[in-house]
Every structure is written in structure tokens, then in C-alpha cells.
Symmetry: C2
Subunit: 187 residues, 2 copies
């Protein structure tokens, strides 16, 4: 029987980020991550399929949260208002994790394979958000364009948020970016 | 000395698209493409680094055209007007190649690795367009948001254009999608 291991998930994530940052993603093994967290490889694989997935853990929950918030927006909300409301909730959930998010971002920027993976995850998220908008009765191409715009806002705000010089909250940067998007697309 | 081979590039592209469509991308070799085009492998490698690159040939020219058109927009043009003008020129250049574009799209949709490659190329294009906007004095996040929006419009219009049921031109679909983007982001 597996022993109870308090916060094994968090310890593995922290150990992985530290090792990826110090040695590089490619030069770190699962065995080293597990050892550094004081856990076994077996425990590692209970949480993650491979060492790459440590960096993308939670993508499904993010998608679930995002789409359910789009679904929950008032019936009267425009497509962009619905995704704006969802972005607001999503951003609030990230707020405490800035330091981890910034370290993760550095690791991803340093590795083309991880950047590709990030693009794929975001494209999947955009498709899911477009699906949630269609479920609200939004037709295409409005649904997919709104979803793509929302993901662009998310990504731009995220990069600003994790910038070492930044002192603003993620939610605030999301709102600013959304406002900026409205400004640049104003006819 | 290499013999002169009329339209070797076009013949290789046609042969590759046909074989990828018939056998699947993974089950086609460079030797088979060359043979089917009546050319040698050596001629193939004069144009393409590998069999994947046949599908992405011209990405650099697209980027060059897109960014130079953004640069050429009147000084008074807003960021979105500048990318709209560029999209118009880009779309016109695609117009004659719908059949090839549609076949290419089917092959890419069928293969996750090719989809990833497509995402990476489009992300690179977005960064280049953002750079061209910055060169016009557009600040961030407006530059990157406008560029991301432009690429979303491009992609959405492209997918509509290559749809077998579609009868509209690419340029017209680009304009419609851009109008739709303005509509969904109107405050």
C-alpha cells in the first residue's frame, strides 16, 4: 500500500521547476526529480505521464473552469462579455502562483519543444472556449474569433504578469489587455 | 551540372500532396515523391529540407509579404487598418491556389505533428507582424494583440475558404472575418 505523502504533487512540481531551472529541462531525469522531492519514481508517475507533463499539469482544470464560466455568464452577455467574465475568474485563480508561473515561463521559453507544447495546449483551450460559446448560441465565425481573441488576451496578459519588473495583478492585466483589444479593434 | 527541369518545384509539390492524400503523410517517402514527379531525390532536397517542409514551403515569403505590407500602410492607418490592408494583399496572392490549399489542409488536419508545425509557423508569423507594427510606433500590448487578432482572422477565413461547400473568395472571407472581429469586440 502507498504511504500517505503530504503534498507529494506540490513537492514534485517544486523539485522539477528547480531542477529544470538549474540544469535545463533536457538534462533532468524523472529519477532526479523524485529523489529531490524525497519521493519515488513510482509516486512521480502517479501524477505525471512524463517529465514534460509536470509543466502542463492543470491544463484540463483550466479548460474546465474557463468553459464552465463562459457557460455560466448571463444570457444577455455578449460573446466577448462572456469570455471576459470567464477570464476574470481564471485570472483570480492564478494570482497566488506568480512565482511558480514565472519560473515555469522561463523554462518553457528556453526550450522549443516545450514552446510547441504550450502552443498546442492554448490552441486546444481556444477550441474548447469556442465550443462553449457555440453552446450559448453564438454562431461561427464569431465563436472561434472571440475564443481566439480571448486566448490572445490571456497570453499577452500572462507574459506581462510574469515579467520580473511587473507589479500588477494578473486580473488587472487581463482587464487592461481586454480593454486594449477593444481599442485596437474599434472601427 | 544539373539539368534544367521545368517547374520541378511545382511537380514535387503536386506529387507530394497526391501521395500524402492517398497513403498518408507518414507512409510516404521522399524517394516516392521524387519518383512520382519524375525527378531525383537530389532535386527534391534542392527545394526542401525534408518531406514535412513541402507543406510549409513559402512560409518565409508569406511572412515577408505580410510584414512589408504592414510597413507600407499609410502613416495615418490604425494598427488594425494596417494589418487589414496587409491581409487583403496576402489573400489576393492565395486566391488561385484554393485547390492546393484545400488538399494541404486535409493532410495537416489528419496529422497531429503537422498541426503542431502549423501552429508554430503561425505563432512565428504573429510575432513578425507584431514586430512590423512596433516598427510603425505601435506600443505593446497593442502591437501583439493586433497581430494575434490578424492571425486569428487569417486562420478562420482560411478554414472557411478551403471548406468544400464554400464558394466565396479568400479575400472576401478575410474581410468578413475582420468585420466579424470588429463586431464581437465592439464595446
Amino acid at each position: 500500500m502507498a504511504r500517505w505523502q503530504p503534498d507529494a504533487l506540490g513537492r514534485l512540481q517544486q523539485a522539477a521547476l528547480t531542477l529544470y531551472g538549474e540544469r535545463g529541462f533536457d538534462n533532468t531525469t524523472v529519477a532526479e526529480i523524485a529523489e529531490s522531492a524525497g519521493l519515488t519514481k513510482r509516486t512521480f508517475f502517479r501524477y505525471f505521464a512524463d517529465k514534460r507533463e509536470v509543466l502542463f499539469y492543470g491544463a484540463e482544470e483550466l479548460e474546465e473552469l474557463f468553459t464552465s464560466e463562459v457557460a455560466a455568464a448571463p444570457e444577455s452577455a455578449t460573446p466577448l462579455d462572456a469570455v471576459a467574465a470567464a477570464l476574470d475568474v481564471v485570472a483570480a485563480g492564478f494570482e497566488e502562483r506568480r512565482e511558480l508561473a514565472a519560473r515555469r515561463q522561463q523554462i518553457i521559453i528556453a526550450n522549443p519543444e516545450l514552446q510547441e507544447r504550450e502552443l498546442i495546449k492554448l490552441a486546444k483551450l481556444a477550441r474548447a472556449v469556442a465550443g462553449a460559446l457555440r453552446d450559448r448560441g453564438v454562431a461561427d465565425p464569431a465563436a472561434i474569433l472571440t475564443a481566439e481573441a480571448a486566448i490572445a488576451v490571456f497570453r499577452v496578459a500572462f507574459e506581462r504578469w510574469v515579467d520580473p519588473a511587473n507589479r500588477k495583478g494578473f486580473q488587472r492585466l487581463i482587464r487592461e489587455s481586454l480593454k486594449e483589444l477593444r481599442a485596437v479593434t474599434a472601427a
